[in-house]
Symmetry: C2
Subunit: 581 residues, 2 copies
């Protein structure tokens, strides 16, 4: 625990009282008071030592003319996975701060599944290298399921080693809501660990209701970002949860859930992204986009800003921020209007960090050596892709475009003399494999995928929720083998192979799931990867070539999935054979 | 820090999920959801291990039929001085819980001024003997001023010894707002002590505004109960303070301040009493009375209840209460209607503690031996009351009926040969003395009082804000001497003397400021004291005989006051002579 600085407190009081000049005085702004939901005109904001000293008439060493812009408290994203943007925390800071975001609550579930507590420490270190204030939730469910090999296992004893870290606010989304509602012993150990440390526990309980929801809340789960309906949201608010209104790249719950927000309950709602890809940030923005949608949907602009600031600060016990008021961090956004919420200047801790859409600092990264070179794959070759089937009636994973749910289908395929699958261009069925890559277990799961449309070559990715093994799909074993080996060589990411040649690739050297490049790089290269996937590999235009694969090994989403341990029937919650029963 | 109980958590989850029966199920109530501000009908409240497991359809070992009553979260008083009721914490619990109060935030400023940290410890121990949940703020300003001798001095180092106590939420009202706004060094030490301990700091800043208010808030002062105007309240809310709406025995700010409360800002308001005498509690109730007034003034009943529950819980970081929701303490009030707010049953921590206006337990008190027998008065006799004046033109303390402010008047009096005051029944001027009683310093301050009306004998009290020395007033030195000596003998309280005989008395053996008797005893005896004061001593009917004296030695309230150290000119903030200048 940092000791509170008496001299600093004295300076803040002196500046507030006007006895000493402020460091910065912002004049000519329309100050948004999120406590009263009103606008304060004709007053200055005095900042000293990174803190707001007072609102009134002040002198300062530096005077900022806001030119009549609104001065809003900085925006807070209540739940985001940085890794889902494929960039590191430093770059995330560069991307979102120009949009008025000053704090994010990040759940590094992906990198911790890859690298365990080393991943957590890397993310904390990386956060020190951006002006964006990043608070973390310690991932609660690593691995997400026992049906795949992740890079790490985090149990309650592991949590105790790091839960007291000042950058960690609590446990990340408790996806094992079944285990919570059942009162599973290992779950209880984790919950108690968080509670004993005085920390929060984020929720994740899609569709949960009634007594199971009661049990989940009674266990101490504090918020939820997985509401799909107004009823979901109101039930959770009534139970005392904060409800997060999510607008990400994949999930768009905001417009629907805003219908649950009233003047009576709006202090229990906050805004979040969950996943926000660079493309989305570059084209639509971040929480400024959420706020615009709120206003479009009829929410009062100041109430919307309150959801993005004070409510989030209260939700996470961040008593040092959330409003423009004496003694709080000077996290301030100057915004042009209350419709676009476009930021002209962004201050974090009293420092101007972004102006007119640009981050004002170079991106300097922390040492990422602990996150690189971590691929450990044993004995992989095309031989490991052989299926040895006794029947040509098989189960296939059916892609259902536009989502992450898959169907569990049946097909009759052609077998060779050894019982292996033979590709038939008339069927749109290909091999899919998941290659364990963390511990060199040598595990390879092989199955069959229908509806991906691929007609040539192979694709391989190391973004494979939530354990992030290697997922690969191809029309022939040889191209699959090359794709996997080249992916390992480039330390992960995405790779496209055709006819024995790499035709496109994106290396993600940070844990195999993030790049050390920029958001623009991600956006451009991913766009190019998509084009190559469609034009060169012939992948169907109605599927997202990469994202579709990324969720193929997540054995909690219906109905048929493939992990490094084999084909998994999610509906029956057990492994199954490729041969039809 | 208590370790969180895993087995208990398991039972709560199991009860919430309906796998095991609850301890108590409340059926047939209209549940008040303070998060959405709505009513939940046709659902049960399941309680186990003192905690609300869930709201739904439940079975329990005991079933309570609420008969259609509203089920409200228990009421929380955000700021109260128990000592001002003249009863101990155990009795306070008996008095207020039947009115739906389940938690109070008490500031034992008076007893700590008398007995220092021993007084704080006594109050904490006493709180363990009532079902009412009493949280404390550690008095911040002991002594309140350097112009009188209190029983104790509490500096930052003293605070460090006890601030981490789990029953202490922070520092009590920081009355030295001038010192805070000025950034005084000793004040800073206290503020930093609280902040380092992660504790809150209550405010007290009557009339403060502008930059001084900014400085006070920037210092970390968290709330205020001293607003007199709507503007005061809105300014403090805008500054990020919680504003307490006070309705006590002496101060009545509620109706006025409710005009500041809107649907946009009402989450920043809470209810408090500050001082609530037994008479007021017995006749009008406690927070149920506040709620009735809120509704009379047009506040929605559920919003009013939210101020009395969730808002207060949030204000004080009491995350375990404030609503009827899974996982929270079962602090529940069944109320007949949303106009009188009359409680039919009151549950605290899942235990029924009051029913139909009656507390259901005997009052058992903690050991109070550390608080008794503490009077140390040196060399007191009638001789010490002599004035040795060189002029008959004197300053007199002018009583201004109906308040605690006094005037600073002039008079011409009769002197004897030694320059001592001679009582003249035609003038309504009498001697007033303040006798130091904590350390045996032998200090006695003597002055002259006009407008009290006393015509016979003397009165003495040991309730003397904030240092609680002995204040006495009389027409003759002999009766004053007897009153003081008899007051010491009975260990404080109130005493009336006439013609060399005690005619009425109320002993307050607990630190000289509280009784070990009941609230009813206080009410009846105080009423009798008042009658005796009017009929036997001839005290003027337009002054409150006891309360008027209690504030005579508080040297921060204008304009002329008397402490054990002498006559004090509050306007000039310095001691002064009885002789006119």
């Amino acid at each position: 625990m940092k000791s509170f600085d008496k001299d600093k407190l004295k300076r803040i009081i002196d500046a507030a009282a006007g006895r000493i000049p402020a460091d910065i005085v912002i004049k000519n702004s329309r100050i948004i008071d999120v406590y009263n939901c009103s606008i304060i005109d004709n007053k200055d904001i005095a900042i000293i030592d990174g803190v707001i000293a007072g609102i009134g008439e002040y002198d300062g060493k530096e005077v900022v003319d806001a030119n009549g812009a609104y001065a809003s408290p900085g925006f807070i994203d209540g739940h985001i996975h940085i890794e889902s943007s494929y960039v590191t925390p430093e770059e995330m800071g560069r991307l979102v701060t120009p949009h008025g975001t000053t704090t994010i609550i990040a759940d590094p579930h992906e990198i911790v599944n890859v690298a365990g507590l080393d991943g957590m420490k890397y993310m904390i270190d990386a956060a020190e290298h951006t002006k964006l204030d990043i608070k973390y939730m310690l991932p609660s469910c690593v691995p997400a399921t026992p049906f795949e090999h992740s890079g790490a296992v985090i149990n309650a004893d592991d949590m105790k080693k790091i839960i007291d870290n000042e950058h960690i606010l609590g446990l990340g989304e408790f996806m094992n809501f079944v285990g919570v509602a059942a009162g599973d012993d290992m779950v209880l150990d984790k919950l108690v660990t968080a509670k004993n440390a005085g920390k929060l526990i984020d929720g994740h309980s899609p569709g949960l209701s009634g007594k199971d929801l009661n049990a989940y809340i009674a266990a101490g789960i504090h918020d939820d970002h997985e509401c799909e309906t107004v009823e979901d949201a109101l039930n959770r608010v009534a139970g005392g949860m904060y409800v997060m209104l999510r607008e990400g790249s994949a999930c768009h719950n905001l417009r629907t859930l805003l219908k649950a927000v009233t003047n009576d309950n709006d202090r229990r709602f906050i805004l979040c992204s969950d996943d926000r890809q660079p493309k989305t940030i570059l084209e639509l923005g971040h929480l400024d986009n959420h706020l615009s949608i709120c206003v479009e949907e009829g929410i009062d602009a100041l109430h919307a800003i309150r959801m993005a600031s004070l409510n989030a600060a209260e939700c996470f016990g961040l008593n040092d921020r959330g409003a423009i008021a004496p003694g709080l961090r000077a996290d301030i956004v100057l915004i042009k209007d209350l419709k676009s919420f476009e930021a002209t200047q962004v201050y974090i801790g009293g420092e101007k960090v972004a102006e007119d859409g640009k981050y004002l600092f170079d991106v300097e990264r922390t040492d990422m050596s602990s996150m690189t070179g971590s691929f450990k794959v044993k004995n992989f070759s095309a031989d490991r892709l052989k299926l040895n089937l006794s029947s040509n009636k098989v189960k296939v994973i059916d892609i259902m475009p536009g989502g992450v749910v898959t169907g569990s289908g049946m097909a009759e395929i052609t077998l060779d003399d050894n019982g292996d699958f033979v590709y038939d261009s008339g069927q749109d069925i290909v091999k899919i494999a998941v290659v364990e890559r963390h511990h060199g277990t040598g595990d390879v799961g092989v199955g069959l995928l229908r509806g991906y449309g691929i007609k040539h070559g192979a694709i391989a990715v190391s973004i494979a929720h939530d354990s992030h093994n290697i997922i690969t799909v191809g029309t022939n074993d040889s191209d699959i083998e090359l794709a996997v080996n080249e992916l390992i060589r480039q330390q992960g990411g995405i790779i496209l192979v055709r006819d024995g040649r790499v035709i496109d690739s994106m290396p993600f050297i940070v844990g195999g799931i993030m790049t050390d490049k920029s958001g623009e790089w991600v956006n451009e290269h991913l766009s190019h990867i998509h084009e190559s996937a469609f034009s060169e590999l012939g992948i169907s235009g109605d599927v997202e070539p990469v994202m579709t694969l990324c969720f193929m090994s997540l054995p909690v989403i219906p109905s048929l999935k493939l992990t490094d341990m084999g084909l998994f029937d999610v509906d029956k919650f057990e492994f199954t054979s490729v041969e039809a029963d």
